[in-house]
């Protein structure tokens, strides 16, 4: 274990509010106040002008270990996460071997703990081998050291309605949640991009909105029927937003996430045939982006989740049809949250940012040590952001092994200056501490 350190952080603005000092001791926030005076020998950090947020929590990260360590490892993914302001990430189950047993989830959790830059929380597969045939040992994963609470076959939809019903029912025993990749595979065979005028023009098979919407509608009804908790991964269409809004108005226990790229980018980018823009679900139309932004602001969509999906260069530098879908996102997500949740005058809604990037993802994932806000007695897991700085994205300089960023060359607002995980800095001066 790393030795606990004691810090005095001066002049930070919690959620953009008036400056305060923070005393960090024994892994928790020991005190918050104006002009705290402490012993001279403790480490001090001048945070004047910096905004303090609870450490970010990602409900949807692909770390590729075990199986594709050439694309990403738990360590490189953790570095990217820490630099992005994260203190916890949920590692998706579609690894090789699949995270569908207590053994694999404990392995992932252990490696994450050993790296020590973020809490790596494994997501357990819903079905054995992601095959969609029978339930994986959900209870054993929940009872394991990794304490899995989020289950997903992400990358693949749990298509069988009977199996989905059983999964939703079963996880009620340990307050789990099924995170569904909503895609009716029978409507998306061979799909390469959003179905519409542009897919027709480009000769790329289309992924129609209804393939996502029909599964969301079905799953909301199933969740209502069995009284369980459903989480919808990477919502991408205006129609999906309408369905989730309806389900919430009916009291159905559904939460939803949107990715940074679906909040910012549109299908037009596919016109370059550059597979860096190929992602699943695909980039949609401007109307969808507008609906997703509005839904995030009004709470219909609960959280931003990155769907960070690093790939080896050869899996992207090829023909569009052969390229693997996905983009990296951990290091840029906060910037895009800032862009999405700012008003026309540049005023940033930091409270909403904390809600959608930390508090609600931690709540959905049942993480008690994260997403608690900056309060006395809370775990000292937080991030210091300089809203006055920006970052120009250079794929070669990412901490992730993945170079597949759609933001290359873009100047994005905000910069993570420091990240603390239970009182220990994982990032200082914009650099990973170890």
């Amino acid at each position: 274990m790393t030795a606990q350190t004691e810090w005095l952080i001066k002049g930070l603005r919690p959620l953009g509010n008036d400056p305060v000092d923070l005393h960090v001791k024994d892994g928790v926030i020991a005190a918050i106040g104006q002009d705290l005076v402490l012993d001279n020998d403790i480490q001090t950090l001048d945070a004047t002008g910096l905004v303090g947020l609870p450490g970010l929590v990602d409900l949807h990260t692909h770390l590729r270990e075990p199986g594709r360590e050439d694309a990403e490892t738990i360590e490189t993914g953790s570095r990217a996460a820490a630099l992005g302001g994260y203190t916890a990430v949920h590692a998706m189950a579609n690894t090789d071997p699949v995270a569908d047993t207590a053994g694999v989830v404990e392995q992932v959790w252990n490696i994450g703990r050993h790296v020590g830059l973020v809490d790596v929380i494994p997501v357990g597969a819903v079905t054995t081998g992601l095959k969609g045939e029978r339930l994986a040992e959900l209870g054993a994963m929940a009872d394991s050291a990794a304490r899995v609470r989020v289950f997903s076959d992400d990358g693949i939809c749990v298509g069988d309605p009977g199996l989905m019903r059983r999964a939703l029912e079963y996880v009620k025993a340990f307050d789990g949640v099924i995170a569904q990749h909503a895609e009716d595979a029978r409507l998306t065979g061979g799909a390469q991009m959003n179905e519409g005028v542009l897919s027709g023009k480009l000769g790329l098979a289309g992924w129609p909105s209804v393939a996502e919407e029909s599964i969301i509608a079905r799953d909301c009804l199933l969740a209502q029927h069995v009284g369980s908790r459903l989480h919808v991964c990477h919502v991408s269409t205006a129609g999906s937003v309408e369905l989730i809004r309806w389900a919430k108005s009916k009291g159905i226990n559904v939460t939803a996430e949107v990715t940074p790229h679906h909040l910012l980018l549109t299908e037009d980018l596919a016109e370059s045939y550059d597979p860096v823009y190929k992602v699943n679900p695909p980039l949609r139309r401007g109307e969808d982006v507008d609906a997703l932004r509005e839904a995030l602001r009004d709470g219909t969509i609960d959280i931003i989740a990155t769907d960070h999906a690093p790939h080896a260069v050869e899996d992207k530098e090829c023909e569009w049809a052969y390229a693997r879908p996905g983009m990296v996102g951990l290091e840029q997500a906060l910037s895009i949250a800032i862009m999405t949740l700012s008003d026309g005058n540049g005023a940033v809604d930091w409270e909403s940012i904390a809600r959608v990037t930390s508090i609600d993802p931690a709540r959905i994932g049942q993480l008690t040590e994260h997403g608690q806000g900056l309060m006395t007695g809370a775990p000292a897991s937080f991030v210091l952001v300089d809203p006055a700085q920006s970052q120009t994205v250079d794929p070669a300089r990412l901490a992730s092994k993945g170079r597949n960023t759609p933001y290359a060359g873009l100047e994005l607002p905000g910069k993570v200056v420091a990240t603390f995980l239970r009182g220990t800095p994982t990032v200082l001066d914009g650099k990973v501490t170890k």
């Binding site: 005028v197 897919s199 289309g206 129609p208 045939y273 050869e314 023909e319 569009w320 049809a321 052969y322």
Partner: protein, 309 residues
């Protein structure tokens, strides 16, 4: 123009220029015993074929050779996947060998666009997935212009062209729609709704599900190849129902005007989308299209490479 990736790359003037050049080339070769021009001597054209298509490859090969270019045939079918050599690696290899033009045929839409980002020479799209096949559209337009009594300098203004069949999966249809619109023709697409792409309402065409209604107004009927596996994917119920509703037989040909022509990009499914007696009739331009293909591809290579020599 550096590349020919899409029929939409051509302005009306450029499209007419290609057709005029093809006609000039044809005239200058007419009556010659040795059908060869010295125009592209010393230039290297690579036929990079990731997908089998003997007729298209031979057509491009003949076109390049008749212009005295050195031709390399690179059949890469399956190799990008099985041997692990990527399209980019291949592109860099061709670059190093000094290819002046690469003619690419590929099953993945957009591959010629990717290739054009990695090589310095000209890239000609010889068919990419379900996207485009621009030289096919040019040879079709060339055939239409000749058969309807038009000549050098003419476009296809006012010509009524009906394209019938599997538009959804047809790169020939996509390129034809774009080029025919550029050249001023009126295009009607006829197909079952399942074989029309989403968004055709925004294309510069009319859409109909009724072949019999479209035929009397057609100067040109272009039948598209229908692949039998589409039936298994439920794009239509049975072959019999398809050919009843969308096949061209002699009875339907009777509804055409006296000068109307019948086209097909080949290879045909005789008895499916087109009846044998129709394919072999005097209205059919199918054999002519093949011959015109060589002239048009000579024109394209000449304009891409010769003009800059």
């Amino acid at each position: 123009m550096t590349h020919l990736l899409s029929a939409a790359d051509l302005s009306p003037e450029q499209a007419v220029e290609v057709l005029d050049t093809a006609e000039q080339i044809e005239n200058s070769l007419a009556g010659r015993e040795i059908k060869k021009l010295p125009t592209l001597r010393g230039r290297t054209v690579v036929n990079l074929f990731y997908e089998d298509s003997t007729r298209t490859r031979i057509s491009f090969e003949l076109a390049a050779k008749r212009l005295s270019a050195d031709v390399i045939n690179f059949s890469a079918k399956g190799s990008s996947v099985t041997k692990g050599e990527s399209l980019k690696d291949t592109a860099l290899t061709l670059q190093a060998m000094g290819a002046d033009a690469v003619v690419i045929r590929h099953s993945a839409s957009g591959s010629p666009h990717r290739l054009a980002q990695w090589v310095e020479g000209s890239v000609v799209n010889a068919g990419d997935g379900t996207h485009e096949h621009p030289t096919q559209a040019l040879l079709d337009a060339f055939t239409m212009r000749k058969r309807t009594g038009r000549g050098p300098g003419d476009d296809l203004a006012g010509l009524n062209v009906t394209i019938v069949g599997d538009v959804l999966h047809s790169r020939v249809a996509r390129s034809n729609v774009l080029l025919l619109d550029t050249l001023g023709a009126n295009v009607t697409l006829v197909a079952p709704p399942t074989l029309l792409p989403v968004g055709t309402e925004s294309w510069p065409v009319k859409v109909s599900y009724d072949l019999d209604a479209a035929l009397p107004k057609s100067d040109v009927v272009m039948m598209l190849r229908v692949q039998r596996e589409r039936m298994n994917a439920s794009f239509f119920p049975t072959e019999r129902e398809y050919s009843r509703r969308y096949g061209l037989d002699m009875a339907r040909v009777g509804a055409l005007g006296p000068d109307a022509i019948v086209m097909h990009p080949g290879p045909m499914n005789r008895g499916m989308e087109i009846a044998s007696d129709v394919a072999d009739s005097a209205r059919s331009t199918i054999v002519e299209q093949v011959a015109n293909g060589v002239s048009v591809r000579m024109a394209v290579l000449y304009l891409l490479l010769g003009g800059k020599a």
